[in-house]
């Protein structure tokens, strides 16, 4: 018989206001095997833990039940405290009476009754708990960063700085991401390229960092500390090692009509191209969709002009297998294409552009060499209208848009408005906003400067319709403060479109078995306390793939993710989850059912000698589980027809005991 101690947490008033904690302590104190039962204001606090440790010692407890918040919150805390007192941590169970009771029920009698039942179920389970010892597994001292934008770059640099190897996998021909396309950055207005490109060079020169550009993750196997990843290096038809990035091929290529994605399609590039001057790696890539040679077999100009013989039209995709201890998702975002909002004219009017397109139109390295000229007639616009929240903050049932605030648009729009007014004081600038959201250091001051010093017209209201008429964009909008409908003749309309996770994130999340929210942002292990970790061990999150954020926030999160990775890679061994499957060899009939359902290949079979009747020896084929590989899902336990396979910590008997306790009301 176990000697069980029960501890009921008040969680301040979170639990105690709805659950009669004294009554719960008293009722559970009468359960068989319970030798101590009490309640306390904050069990997770230092003194709460001391209370528990004292009780373990004084009452010689062999098992502990804490009735408190979700085990996802403090199970580890209480188990650690028990361990300090010499009790095996797996002898501690949690009954979740906060999330599952006090926070969702109002009636005290009902909540108290439910808390008692959940407590009884936990006690019933602890009666069957056995001390468990965690095994160990080695750690591959290398990290993978998926995505080479500013988030991935910063994470990789920080990990490398600590002395660990890092690979960056970037699907585009160069690292740099969205930040490379941006002109200036708020709130300081320093040039994005000036602060980003040195970091790109650092990455290229760091001998701990290996860049797989124009590459994608193909598959991920394994678990924390021991991932095996297949990377597809897409054929770029240029030998990366030979190419010097001289650019002669990109000048001579006769196919000039390829939309230039780096400039948001506002100008064209060649079929062989280097995305931009500071690209890393500075290597040309052939776009097979447009290359005349690839399509017709006739051309070959680039091959002829290449001085180092780097062009290889026969190049194939290559799959590289690499091992990692940790993986960081830094898959980034894209601004939404506003084709769902054509009342604003994006699909039909050339001079209605997105904010990222405007960045290119204002960038010195962009299609207009930094002079603001509108796309249709290359004339300087004299009236510019900005529309905020295009596709953001929509009702969840509105299939066109996103339910969240994209966070960065208010600030970059203020920046755009300010830059235009500064460079072209003859230009009138209107910003239509719902709310101006500027939480951040020096952010509101920045926005106020746009209004007060630069004379940007901020109008509370939205644009309802944009119609192009003889080169003029007729903007119909509301001014809610004056109660008017405005009709503005504009030359350029800029839409601040919602940020959305990169399309590749969904399939990457599936490969990583990392969870995502309904908007396809990666979910964090804990919204407040573990914001850079995925709930899946060994997977970390960096940048906008976790939620909308600006550059400083992205960089902070990137460094935080790196710190977590370093913490993991610094360990030589990892403690495994001891709640793994175990086969009872005496019951196993060697049918292989369990092996077939194991997603990790943790189950193997071996012929073993057993003692048979009359001192004979029998050779039987039995299953055995590799505890370092088993992740404890339990698929095998249900597949096993003979009941030999069971899961430690969640054994058949334990779960049945919980079922019985719940049903016995």
């Amino acid at each position: 018989m176990q000697r069980i101690g029960v501890f009921i947490c008040h969680c301040g008033t979170n639990i105690a206001a709805t659950v009669d904690v004294k009554a719960v302590a008293e009722a559970l104190g009468r359960e068989p095997g319970v030798v101590f039962s009490t309640d306390y204001q904050y069990m997770c606090s230092e003194s709460g833990q001391t209370l528990m440790r004292d009780a373990i010692r004084e009452h010689k407890l062999s098992g502990v039940v804490v009735c408190s918040c979700s085990p996802r919150m403090h199970e580890a805390t209480f188990r650690k405290a028990a361990e300090k007192e010499g009790l095996n941590p797996y002898m501690v169970e949690i009954a979740n009476i906060r999330e599952q009771v006090s926070w969702i029920h109002k009636d005290v009698a009902e909540a108290t009754e439910k808390a008692i039942i959940l407590g009884r179920a936990a006690i019933a389970k602890v009666h069957l708990n056995k001390p468990l010892t965690a095994g160990e597994s080695p750690v591959t001292k290398r990290a993978l960063v998926i995505g080479g934008g500013i988030a991935g770059i910063q994470t990789a640099l920080d990990i490398a700085e600590a002395g660990f190897e890092v690979d960056i996998v970037e699907k585009e021909p160069t690292i740099g991401g969205k930040m490379a396309q941006i002109d200036k950055t708020f709130p300081t207005l320093d040039c994005a390229a000036c602060i980003l490109t040195p970091k790109m060079v650092d990455v290229a020169q760091n001998d701990k960092i290996k860049i797989f550009s124009y590459s994608e993750v193909e598959s991920v196997k394994g678990f924390v500390g021991n991932f095996k990843v297949a990377i597809r290096k897409k054929a770029r038809f240029v030998d990366e090692d030979k190419c010097t990035g001289c650019g002669i091929c990109t000048e001579k290529c006769p196919q000039k009509k390829v939309p230039n994605e780096f400039n948001m399609g506002l100008d064209t590039r060649r079929a062989i191209y280097i995305p931009f001057a500071q690209a890393v790696p500075k290597v040309a890539t052939i776009d097979a969709n447009y290359c005349t040679m690839m399509k017709t077999g006739k051309c070959g100009v680039c091959q002829k002009v290449c001085g180092v013989g780097a062009i290889d039209y026969k190049q194939q995709d290559v799959i590289v297998e690499r091992e990692y201890g940790a993986i960081v998702a830094a898959t980034g975002f894209n601004p939404m294409k506003p084709t769902q909002y054509d009342e604003l004219g994006y699909s039909t009017c050339e001079d209605v552009v997105t904010s990222l397109e405007l960045e290119r139109l204002m960038n010195a390295a962009g299609p207009t060499a930094g002079t603001l000229l509108r796309p249709s007639d290359k004339k300087h616009p004299h009236t510019v209208v900005f529309v905020q929240c295009v596709g953001s903050r929509c009702d969840a049932e509105n299939e066109k848009g996103k339910p969240y605030c994209s966070k960065i648009c208010c600030m970059y729009t203020a920046k755009h408005a300010m830059l235009i007014r500064e460079k072209y004081p003859d230009t009138e600038v209107y910003v239509f906003y719902i709310d101006v959201r500027t939480p951040g250091k020096n952010f509101d001051e920045f926005y106020r400067r746009a209004v007060e010093q630069y004379g940007v017209h901020y109008v509370k209201g939205q644009v309802g319709k944009v119609v192009e008429d003889n080169g003029v964009l007729k903007v119909q909008a509301s001014d809610l403060l004056s109660g008017e409908q405005l009709h503005i003749d504009a030359d350029l309309v800029v839409l601040a479109t919602a940020v959305e996770p990169d399309k590749s994130a969904r399939s990457i999340a599936t490969m990583l078995t990392a969870s995502m929210d309904t908007n396809d942002f990666f979910t964090e292990a804990h919204a407040k306390l573990r914001p850079v970790e995925s709930p899946t061990a060994g997977i970390f999150l960096s940048g906008v793939c976790q939620g909308p954020k600006d550059i400083p926030e992205t960089v902070s999160q990137a460094s935080a993710a790196a710190a977590k990775v370093i913490g993991l890679l610094a360990k030589d061994k990892l403690t495994c989850n001891p709640c793994v499957a175990e086969s009872d060899e005496l019951l196993c009939n060697g049918c292989s059912s369990c092996e077939k359902v194991c997603p990790y290949g943790a189950i193997t079979y071996a012929d073993k000698e057993f003692r048979g009747p009359n001192r004979t020896t029998l050779i039987r084929r039995v299953a055995s589980v590799n505890p370092a590989v088993c992740q404890g899902c339990g698929a095998c336990t249900v597949a096993c027809p003979s009941g030999a396979m069971d899961l430690k910590g969640f054994s058949n008997r334990q779960i049945m005991a919980e079922v019985d306790a719940i049903c016995k009301m």
Binding site: T339, Q340, Y341, D342, E343, G345, S347, T348, C349, K465, V466, V467, E468, D469, N470, K474
Partner: protein
């Protein structure tokens, strides 16, 4: 190809051309448009209130009778199309409206939105096919610059009409191309003409209609086509049509097929 056909009141009186040319064109295209027996006026506007049942009944009757005939229901007038499609959606998705409407009507088989409703243009696009139409054109309207006027009722609410992108539609433009003319895309093509408010506020209708036609003219349209008698009326009467002709799209269709 056989369809039930709901012409609607106005097509029997002031908008006979819309109907006449549609029938002539269908004959040329080998489409059998069978007018529903004993159809009644749809009410011309969809009543949005959830407690409005009586005003939806005539549409339900038409829908149920098309179902009983085992055919899809083709509508032509934008307003009828809008009303019948929205009522059909109510019958399909709003159990309360469906129950109450069926209680009133006492049909042999209760109606729950089984009929597929097609606008004449959808029928051309999805059943006949614009390519097949093009092949049958004997008198292509080459050189004509035609603006499509969608108005409000053909496309909105887009979730229910489900006919085309409500803000950047292409169905009439594709139709115009099929009959050999050049479509003119202009910004106001899906804005309101002033609708029924023309009855008591001519000023409002004038403003709306002239804004539409100005927009079409500025893009170089010589003709504007519509599927709605009220749009035609407003644009012609209140829009100031100097230099631009406003006609039903079926008239151009018949012309192109050589059956006008």
């Amino acid at each position: 190809m056989k369809f039930s056909y709901y012409p609607g009141c106005t097509l029997k009186t002031k908008a006979k051309d819309l109907d006449r040319y549609a029938r002539a064109a269908c004959e040329a295209l080998g489409v059998d448009l069978a007018e529903l027996p004993e159809w009644q006026c749809c009410g011309a506007v969809y009543t949005m209130a959830k407690d409005e049942i009586a005003s939806k009944l005539s549409s339900v009757r038409a829908l149920a009778s098309a179902r009983d005939l085992g055919t899809d229901l083709v509508t032509l007038c934008s307003a009828c199309h809008n009303v019948i499609k929205q009522v059909n959606n109510d019958m399909r998705t709003n159990a309360d409206i469906a129950l109450r409407a069926n209680n009133y009507l006492k049909l042999d088989t209760p109606y729950t939105g089984e009929t597929n409703v097609l606008h004449f243009l959808e029928m051309l696009r999805d059943r006949v096919g614009f390519d097949a139409l093009k092949a049958k054109v004997t008198n292509p309207l080459t050189g004509r610059k035609i603006g499509a006027y969608y108005g409000c009722l053909l496309l909105r609410p887009s979730k229910v009409m489900a006919m085309d992108d409500a803000e950047n539609p292409t169905i009439i433009e594709d139709f115009i191309r099929a009959i050999g003319a050049t479509p003119v895309v202009y910004g106001m093509r899906n804005e309101c003409c002033g609708g029924y408010v023309t009855l008591e506020n001519k000023g409002s209708a004038k403003k709306r209609s002239s804004a539409v036609l100005e927009s079409a003219k500025s893009k170089g349209a010589d003709t504007v086509v519509t599927a709605c008698p009220l749009c035609l009326y407003n644009l012609k009467k209140n829009g100031g049509t100097d230099g631009v002709d406003v006609v039903y799209f079926t008239e151009l269709l018949a012309e192109a097929l050589g059956v006008k």
